[in-house]
């Protein structure tokens, strides 16, 4: 017997796929299918989030994932992750140097002004969240004018050449610990090749959070901000932009830029502490970074990085400081999968539960209680 005839269950699954796709296409009389460039541009923050949580920098497939998932970020990230499982590893780059980022936005809350200036960039931070009714009937002409007018009169000579890291200034004064030379020698923990077995190094925590689900990270970080913890962060620097990815030339071995990835990076300065070796106290640091333009995630991550460091050295005194609690519950694919699985048949286990309950109730009726 070489095959199994598809009966009830199989037909139900096929039916559900068809009706799902119908819902995507049902207004086809009035419009065309979403094209991937539209998703990538007009829904860029949703798109960036999917890249970030999928853990694969493939803008085109991420757009496709958004399209096929009808905009569900968990499902779209899921599709990207599953795609990643089929890909062999071709090479490993050197650590990305974010000081070489092609900046699109960069601010610091720690200082009024910083070398290179406070560049607000494309942020909604100071927008009034009022409904833009003028967009209700936006015409293609109005749409085109926005982009064509933006470049008029821009003086590109005003753009600074470099944006030095704010932390460098603090480091020169000795207010934050010096960079350890050991750091570059230790290979980072690879969460896609090794399971997390606690205690885990800081690099494992950072990479888990880098592709963590935004809402989960925000909720736990928020608990710390509100008092279940005491990181008390100040944003030393938040930068958004494109970081070059370097690989050695196959013949000369010289590092070559093979492309760039959009990233958000946040460095926070937290409460200061005494040093182990008795030298003067310094500020402690928290670091967050992710693919795409996602500031809430980068800031949450930086706060959790700091709280987890506290938890790993002194022992956790609240959930945000507990590595097991944080790292095992922020992965969107794991959590949504398990949540969804409760809809699967569980009637055999339920049968077993009913048996136990009935037996116990019968025992009480029979007065067999000792």
């Amino acid at each position: 017997m070489a095959y199994v005839a598809i009966k009830g269950g199989g037909q139900a699954i096929d039916g559900s796929k068809t009706v799902f796709d119908y819902l995507r296409a049902k207004q086809s009389a009035e419009s065309s299918p979403l094209d991937l460039d539209t998703i990538q541009n007009q829904l860029r923050l949703l798109h960036g989030r999917v890249i970030s949580e999928g853990g694969v920098y493939h803008p085109r497939l991420a757009a496709l994932a958004v399209k096929q998932a009808h905009g569900d970020t968990l499902e779209a990230a899921f599709a990207l992750r599953a795609y990643r499982s089929t890909m062999p590893r071709l090479a490993e780059t050197e650590a990305l140097d974010t000081s070489r980022m092609r900046i699109t936005r960069r601010i610091s809350s720690a200082f009024k002004d910083i070398p290179g200036g406070q560049m607000l960039g494309a942020t909604t931070d100071y927008h009034l969240r009022l409904m833009r009714m003028e967009l209700l009937n936006e015409s293609p002409e109005q749409f085109r004018t926005i982009a064509s007018e933006w470049f008029d009169g821009l003086n590109i000579d005003d753009i600074p050449d470099t944006f030095p890291k704010v932390l460098e200034g603090l480091r020169k004064e000795g207010l934050i610990p010096p960079l350890s030379s050991q750091v570059r020698d230790n290979a980072p923990f690879d969460i896609t090749r090794e399971p997390l077995v606690f205690p885990v190094p800081r690099s494992a925590a950072l990479s888990t959070m880098a592709r963590g689900e935004q809402g989960s990270l925000l909720a736990i970080a928020y608990s710390n901000m509100r008092g279940y913890g005491d990181v008390h962060p100040t944003v030393a620097e938040l930068r958004v932009g494109y970081v070059p990815v370097m690989l050695p030339h196959p013949i000369t071995g010289k590092p070559m830029e093979i492309g760039e990835v959009e990233m958000t990076e946040c460095e926070i300065v937290a409460m200061y502490e005494d040093q182990e070796d008795g030298s003067k106290p310094v500020f402690s640091l928290g670091y967050g970074a992710c693919f795409g333009h996602n500031e809430v995630k980068a800031i949450s991550m930086a706060i959790l990085d700091r709280s987890l460091q506290i938890g790993m050295t002194k022992g956790p005194s609240n959930p945000s400081e507990d590595p097991e609690f944080v790292l095992l519950h922020v992965d969107g694919i794991d959590s949504m999968g398990f949540c969804t699985h409760y809809k699967m048949p569980h009637y055999v286990t339920f049968q077993s539960d009913m048996d136990r309950l009935r037996t116990t109730r019968k025992k009480q009726d029979d007065g067999v209680q000792s």
Binding site: S85, Q351, D355, T360
Partner: protein, 292 residues
């Protein structure tokens, strides 16, 4: 856009790691081997752990059976089976327990005793029996290492004090080879004795929790209990003390599904193991033929 050409969906490195983890699991019966579980196209909680095991271990020409709640046509089983067929060209699929070489199952072990040449892969949501008494994985590892299951046993003690019974229904903690206590997956108590001295290798895969563990062939598997309060399986006797038969094939020795008939409103009891039920029916009709 590249398409995947790897047999078994995952790349060779991933399959190699899973095979090595399985070997380690067999070498240390009942020990949960951590592995870096890959994401599959089905959700975590839908059997990705069992799936990764099957995909890494099955080969061309081998025969696969997939069941969920004992049934081959349950939605989850159908989904998994088509995916495995799609990604492992050259395998056969079957609903027959006797014909299968690899059986992937959710929540049941087949009624028919398995043979040495067969392999059963169980889908596991919670690999660790101690999770009910200790939330921290780090602390649980120490308890397992020292075979300190006193807190779990106290739970059983408190059950007996309160209810005169051990009230654990499925996922009954079971000690393997005298040391590690495992969560045998949400199989009913009915199926736990099948793990003891099984001729077939039993592999258990937890995809989301990222653990593989095993009950090797001919290994002791003892459900935790007290000498004087022994382990008991589910009871299928009716109000008159008669063991209920399957309404379809008449069998009185199988685990029964209970449900309400949508037309009559009566309670109906049928074998949970679909293939077993079919076999019973076939045996009966053969019997009739030979008697008739």
């Amino acid at each position: 856009m590249t398409t995947n050409k790897s047999f078994g969906f995952m790349d060779e490195y991933a399959k190699k790691e899973i095979r090595r983890s399985s070997l380690k699991a067999v070498a240390i019966p009942g020990y949960q081997v951590p592995y870096s579980s890959r994401e599959m196209p089905m959700g975590r909680g839908f059997g990705t752990g069992g799936l990764q095991l099957t995909l890494s271990l099955i080969g061309e020409g081998e025969t696969l059976k997939v069941i969920d709640q004992g049934a081959d046509d349950s939605v989850n089983a159908v989904n998994l089976r088509s995916f495995i067929e799609m990604t492992c060209p050259g395998i056969h699929t079957t609903t027959s327990t006797t014909e299968a070489g690899v059986i992937q199952s959710r929540h049941r072990i087949p009624e028919r005793p398995l043979r040495e040449d067969q392999l059963i892969v169980l889908q596991v949501p919670y690999p660790d029996a101690l999770v009910v008494v200790e939330a921290s994985e780090d602390k649980r590892k120490i308890l397992h290492g020292e075979a300190d299951y006193s807190r779990l046993l106290v739970k059983l003690y408190e059950d007996i004090v309160k209810f005169d019974e051990i009230t654990i229904s499925h996922r009954y903690p079971t000690r393997i080879h005298g040391h590690y206590v495992i969560d045998p997956s949400p199989i009913p108590r009915w199926d736990v004795p099948k793990m003891h001295q099984s001729a077939a290798l039993i592999l258990l895969g937890a995809g989301r929790e990222k653990k593989i563990y095993a009950v090797p062939p001919y290994t002791d598997a003892e459900p935790l209990a007290f000498e004087d309060v022994p382990f008991r399986v589910e009871d299928f006797t009716d109000e008159n003390g008669q063991r209920r038969p399957c309404a379809r094939c008449g069998c009185t020795t199988s685990f029964l599904d209970e449900y309400i008939d949508s037309s009559t409103g009566d309670y109906v009891y049928r074998c949970s193991d679909a293939d077993w039920c079919n076999e019973q029916l076939m045996d009966e009709s053969l019997l009739e033929v030979s008697n008739g």
